[in-house]
Amino acid sequence: MSGASGRGYDWSYLKRGARQAASMPGVVMFFSFLGFGALLRSEGVPLVYGIAQDVAIWALPGQVVLLDAVSRGLPLLLGALAVTLTAVRLLPMVVLVLARSRLAGQARWPEYLAAHYIAATVWVMAEMHFDSLPRAGRLPWVIGLGTALVSAMTLATALGFMLTGIMAGPLAATLVFFTPAFFLLALIDGARMRMDWLAMALGAVLGPLVHVYWPSLDLLAAGLVGGGAAFLLGRNGGGRAAS
């Protein structure tokens, strides 16, 4: 653990976090939100609702599920249930990012704010950069990064909404393809110990298997069962633990 926990957060890292949004992960995310904007248009939902989802929900799979529920006219309760199932995954991601960035004994409001920004991309980026950031600067960095990403993605949503239909099919599909390609390579690049490799392999095998039978539970089941098994099997795997 680095940094001084006696003093508070170092807010000068807010700007550095914001600048980090202009990076490969930010570009990949931009492509995904272009796709979200295009989806809004094709479902006949006004742009303003999509922008509101970007700012206030900030979790793309949930946003897509919500859009799907709206366009199929599902009852509110069923739609909310489907969205909340996709959001359970955010809990462990928030725990992981905050465990390496929060300062004990400090005010907790920055944690509540940072938590709103945390989803898969910010978790991956935190894994990439936390080692080079002092402890007191990490939470401000997440908040700066999140604020910049949300701003950029509302722009991407609007752009995608307006550009739909102009782009050729293979090119548009390639933009979407950046997301799985980036997540897979970021996982591989960030793997440090045997447990990581086991978790990756088990998740990739269990996910599709569960998906065939219970499509809405595939991620949770693969995460809990695959991750749990990887944790038990990989306990003596060596490598350094996340600090």
């Binding site: 465990a99 944690e111 990739a204 991620l219 693969a222």
Partner: protein
């Protein structure tokens, strides 16, 4: 559009609440967890498996724009990206770009 605007705002609000509640639970939980203990390692394994499952789902059972692309193009491009990462000395950005370029090329070449 079949839904009236007030009810659409209600749907968005519901989506906001049922999403943030899990993040809130994370904030409340993290102060009770030992950051160097086994619990956090378990959480890390769960997230890793979950994101891997998400990738596998997007590649094997895609929705939206990817649904219309050939499976061999998706898998071939991802394998190419991993190979580039491995043999370029772990250059992440280059590997992602190479995988995406290969995907574009394979879409044109494959039926």
């Amino acid at each position: 559009m079949s839904v009236s605007s007030p009810s659409l705002w209600l749907v968005v609000l519901a989506g906001v609440l049922v999403t943030y509640v899990w993040r809130l639970a994370g904030v409340l939980l993290v102060s009770r967890i030992d950051p160097d203990g086994p619990a956090l390692r378990l959480v890390r394994a769960v997230v890793t498996a979950l994101v891997a499952a998400l990738v596998a789902r997007m590649l094997l059972f895609p929705s939206g724009l990817l649904a219309g692309t050939p499976l061999p193009a998706r898998l071939g491009a991802v394998l190419f990206g991993v190979a580039v990462w491995r043999f370029s000395g772990r250059m992440l950005e280059m590997a992602v770009a190479a995988g995406a370029s290969m995907f574009l090329a394979l879409q044109m070449l494959l039926p």
